[in-house]
Amino acid sequence: MNLSIVTQIARTHLLAKKRQTLIAMLGVTFGIAMFIVMISFMQGVNQFLENSALDASPHIRMFNEVNTQRPGLIDELRPNGFNVVYHQKPKNEQARLKNGVILAGRIEKEPGVLGVSAQVATQAFFNNGPIQLSGTISGVDVERENRLYRLNERLKSGTLNALKTNPDGLLMGVSLAQKLNVQVGDKVSVTTPVGDTRILRVVGTFGFGIATIDNTKSYAALSTVQEMLQRDPSFVTDIHVKMIDPMQALSFGKRLEAMFGYHTENWAEANTAILTGEKLRNVMTFVVSFTLLVVAGFGIYNIMNMTVMNKIKDIAILKATGFDKRDIVAVFLLQAVFIGLSGGLLGLLIGFGLSYSLSVTPFDTGGMLDIKTFPVIFKAKFYVIGLLFGLITTILAGYFPSKKAAQVDPVAILRG
């Protein structure tokens, strides 16, 4: 097969019907542009949600899962006996991590760990006059917690230092503070599940941009919460770990679980909803883009079929003068590839332009989320996939008409 001569014929055919070529090209262009916009935007949303979830949650949370689902003593001793025990009371067990502070120190020395924060977390009621709201209060070493969650960046009012100096200080989620109608300096009464009530003073508010956190969470000094729960200073319920590489958390969590015997939960497990949403959005992106490209493919198929019908005399002449089947296939396939390639490249350009415009378009979330414009990410991978998709579609769409062209019987045409 002589490629240059075949290319010359294909080029002449394309240039002879510029309008048709352009329309076929635009079909691919539109499909690819939409694919680029969709995937850039969807992946942007995915990444944004993942990032905000990752930012606000520990990569690994280690805690003591209080589990009362265990057999009674008699059942354990005589598993096959006829045992009747009424109203068995669960054994009293504390949700504490034994030697939690020491564990935290050891975990911190492991390679790949960014920071560790040992804390006491409990449910609490916040009262301000008639307003009663339930939420959580975490007793933390504020400096460590700051290293994990960059609290100083998320402060909406007040200071972090006040929490260190004031044992009655309380750092509240911004929405929670709003609902309680309190500001920095105001007092809130906090009741723990064990019944202890304390008056704490709001020293600051923070916002993660995630409603479930900003609505419920508050921080106090570690010792304050330990006192409120009437526990000793070694009482720790949770250890939060941040890794340098979030993906490492999955295996590291399992190792910690094996090492210390406490239950661990990694960010992927804690954010299943977000990750599931991500998968759904990915599927949707591919379904829509695929549909667009298939439609474009049918457009090309139609146009190529018409071209072959129009050029049937030319095909007969070419065959008579010695062009074989492969040459004929190449002539028409090259036209399809050209349409796919040029339409695809134009589509990438337009897709990039549209995604860029989207990425600078203001997006008002009403303060729910911490973004000002639509989240869009730009990745070379999307553009490569887009171009490959476009090429594969056009090659498939062009192959069958080309095959048909190669089957043309020159005798039937030339005899007239």
């Binding site: 002589n2 240059s4 001569i5 010359q8 014929i9 002449t12 055919h13 240039l15 002879a16 005399k313 030319d314 007969a316 002449i317 070419l318 065959k319 008579a320 003068t321 010695g322 062009f323 074989d324 089947k325 492969r326 040459d327 020159p410 005798v411 045409i413 030339l414 005899r415 007239g416």
Partner: protein, 225 residues
């Protein structure tokens, strides 16, 4: 002298709509340099015979040998290459590729053969166009030429690879008298230079000017041996 083409006991059937015996035991030889015409009434099978010889129709019984190569039973790619190198065609209706220039039309089979570099193919094509008096129109799009001019360019195209045989299916069938004579004189001229030519025609003037006439009737050769 060994014949340049020999057909032996060719039989061909049409099956649509009914089985029909088009060619019955057709055998003949063509010597190098012969200017041969095949004549006969419409439907006598002369065009069918030509398309068997052209290697484009491969459904027949019998045997065709051309330029020392047995062509019966060969695959499509081999035959395409053979046509490209050894055969030149001039058709009745379809002359040139309309989107290409006159020169490109002549060059295409030469470029396909790839025996000479493109530059040389172009020179040779110009030479063939001069031969038929169409050199002035080399750069014109083929669609801008008249029917007679197109047919002359088609002859130049048939000549580009110095074929063993030129085959014509009613090469003057669609032309007026002046153009017919022009085309015939080109053929005559080529024949005098030793080119083997086989044409199917029902133009008695054309046939009368050839070296040898094969007359067919009802799928059989009735005279010309």
């Amino acid at each position: 002298m060994t014949p340049v083409l020999s057909a032996s006991r060719l039989n061909k059937y049409f099956y649509d709509p009914d089985k029909f015996h088009v060619l019955r035991d057709v055998s003949f030889d063509v010597q190098p340099g012969e200017f041969l015409s095949i004549v006969g009434k419409s439907g006598c099978g002369k065009s069918t015979l030509l398309y068997l010889l052209s290697t484009m129709d491969t459904e027949y019984e019998g045997e065709i040998t051309m330029a020392g190569t047995r062509l019966t039973g060969r695959d499509g790619d081999f035959l395409a290459r053979f046509r490209n190198e050894h055969l030149g065609f001039v058709f009745q209706f379809h002359f040139l590729l309309p989107e290409f220039s006159t020169l490109q039309n002549v060059m295409l089979p030469g470029l396909k053969l790839g025996k000479y570099p493109a530059k040389e193919v172009e020179e040779r094509a110009m030479e063939k166009l001069r031969l038929i008096g169409m050199a002035d129109h080399a750069r014109k799009p083929a669609s801008k030429l008249s029917g007679g001019q197109q047919q002359r360019v088609a002859i130049a195209r048939a000549l580009i690879n110095d074929p063993t045989i030129i085959m014509g299916d009613e090469p003057t069938g669609n032309l007026d008298k002046a153009n017919s004579e022009n085309v015939f004189s080109i053929f005559r001229d080529l024949a005098s230079k030793g080119q083997t030519i086989i044409t199917v025609t029902h133009d008695p003037d054309f046939a009368g000017g050839t070296d040898r006439i094969i007359e067919m009737s009802d799928g059989q050769i009735i005279s010309g041996h």
